[in-house]
Structures are given as structure tokens and as C-alpha cells.
């Protein structure tokens, strides 16, 4: 048992990854694999829901940095949602809000994908 789970749901052209548990240097490769699979399938519209994530370190944030360029160059995006204040603070300290769309709820991210 690794203490981390990522569940994928495909919703038409948008894929949602729901994270659960803790995301650190040990579990980051699991998220990396899930994102790599999406990119391999050319599914570039991705929502990552943090609702059930209790902890994140910079190793977890690094995973998003590793994929964002490729996803955006495929006309997609990685939109982040449902962060607790504890999780948001780590993203905020590293300047992510200027570079990633972070919203309170998955439905907002989904609507933003369909706006364009």
C-alpha cells in the first residue's frame, strides 16, 4: 500500500484525475504514470481534483511542471481544482497560481474547457 491513489474518469474530451492520500517523492511516480498515459493517448484536456489529497511536497508539484508544456502545445491544459487551504498554500508559495488555472470546483474547470 502506497498511501496514494489516482482515479481517472474520462468525460467526453476531458479527463479528470482524482487524487487521494499523500503526494510526495515516493508516490509522485504514480501520478507521473497517470499523466504520461493521458499524454500518450493525446488526451490533453486534464482536470486534477485535489479534494481527497491530504498532503503534497514539491516532488508532487514537480510532476505538473513536467507535463504542462506538452499538454498546452497540444491545445490542452492541466486545470487544478478543489484544493484544501493546506494544499493551496504549497502551490501558492511556489508561484503556481500565476501559471496554472486553480479553481474551487471541478465543474468550474470543466465549464472553462468548454468555453473555448
Amino acid at each position: 500500500m502506497s498511501g496514494f491513489e489516482v482515479t481517472r474518469t474520462d468525460n467526453a474530451d476531458v479527463s479528470v484525475l482524482r487524487l487521494k492520500g499523500y503526494l510526495d517523492a515516493h508516490t509522485a511516480p504514480d501520478l507521473e504514470n497517470a499523466l504520461q498515459k493521458l499524454v500518450d493517448e493525446k488526451r490533453y484536456r486534464v482536470i486534477v481534483n485535489f479534494k481527497d489529497l491530504g498532503y503534497i511536497s514539491s516532488a508532487g508539484l514537480g510532476v505538473f511542471m513536467g507535463f504542462i508544456e506538452e499538454v498546452r502545445s497540444g491545445s490542452g491544459d492541466i486545470k487544478l481544482t478543489n484544493m484544501s487551504p493546506k494544499i493551496f498554500r504549497v502551490f501558492d508559495l511556489l508561484g503556481f497560481p500565476a501559471l496554472y488555472e486553480i479553481s474551487d470546483d471541478e465543474s468550474i474547470a470543466l465549464a472553462n474547457f468548454h468555453k473555448k
Binding site: 517523492a25 511536497s57 516532488a59 511542471m65 508559495l93 508561484g95 503556481f96
Partner: protein, 156 residues
């Protein structure tokens, strides 16, 4: 007679990322027990995770046989965390505040940890002797925003 309120807690783990959870549990329990609020407990927990992650990935290049020592020293005004390894070390002066746009462009992931540690803790000092003994010392004071907190050191 003045009671001795200094306490020291130690943990020694093999250098493997699978042990980070144990480190976080150890550090956060003690920080909570000596009276830090949940916000500060989270900061200390993350700073120590980042420090150990750097040792595992860089100082020991993921050689899981090597040991990492984590010592927490508690006194009336502060919590001091000392993380010691015998790996290859690095030059802390060469680290700069990361430029996130640059990082993303280069897909660089390392270096964020040290920046976080400096942001989360009150003091971060490296003592690097490559191959012999590298020690990182981080301090968090109980006092914050001029408000004096009282340490509750241990219970029995």
C-alpha cells in the same frame, strides 16, 4: 530548582522515499506535542520532508542502504531540526530563488525544496563536508507576530 526542559528526539532511517511518511509522522507528532499550532506543524513537516527528499535523491543518489539521521531538539523558545547524512553534499551558495517560468521551460524540478524550506522555517543553515558529514539545521521559534507562546515540553 529550574526543571530541565530541554528534550531531544532522534530517528534514523534508511535513505528511501518510502520512509518519508514515517519521518513526517515523527516530526509532526513532536511539533504538535510541544505546542505548535496546526499551521506551524504543517510547515515543519513539509520542510523536513523536503530536506530528507533532497538527501535521498541528491546526497545519496537513491542508494537506499545509506542512513539519514533526524534529530529534534526542543527548548523553551524553539524547535531545532538537524538532518545529517554522509553523502556527497552540494554548494548551498549556488542555489537561487527559482524562477517558475524558467523552471517550467527547462522542466527542472529540483531546487524547489530548498526554497520552500527557507520560506517555511525561521532559520536554515547548511554545514557541508562532502563524503564526511553534511548537516542541515532548521529552526522554528514558538514566538510569532510578537505573540509569546509557551512551550509544553514533553508530558512525563
Amino acid at each position: 530548582m529550574v526543571p530541565n526542559l530541554k528534550k531531544k528526539y532522534q530517528l534514523r532511517i534508511p535513505s528511501h522515499a518510502g520512509n518519508l511518511e514515517i519521518v513526517r509522522e515523527f516530526v509532526s507528532r513532536i511539533a504538535r506535542k510541544v505546542g505548535f499550532n496546526e499551521d506551524d506543524v504543517n510547515k515543519i513537516e513539509l520542510a523536513v520532508d523536503e530536506a530528507c527528499t533532497n538527501v535521498i535523491k541528491h546526497a545519496y543518489s537513491s542508494d537506499s542502504k545509506k542512513p539519514i539521521e533526524i534529530a529534534l531538539k526542543v527548548d523553551l523558545e524553539k524547535l531545532t531540526v538537524e538532518i545529517t547524512d554522509r553523502g556527497k553534499g552540494f554548494n548551498p551558495k549556488k542555489l537561487q530563488r527559482p524562477d517558475m517560468k524558467e523552471y517550467i521551460a527547462q522542466m527542472r524540478v529540483g531546487g524547489l525544496g530548498v526554497y520552500l524550506m527557507k520560506t517555511l522555517m525561521d532559520e536554515v543553515v547548511y554545514n557541508i563536508q562532502p563524503g564526511k558529514r553534511n548537516q542541515l539545521r532548521m529552526v522554528k521559534y514558538y514566538t510569532k507576530d510578537g505573540e509569546k507562546k509557551t512551550a509544553q515540553v514533553g508530558v512525563g
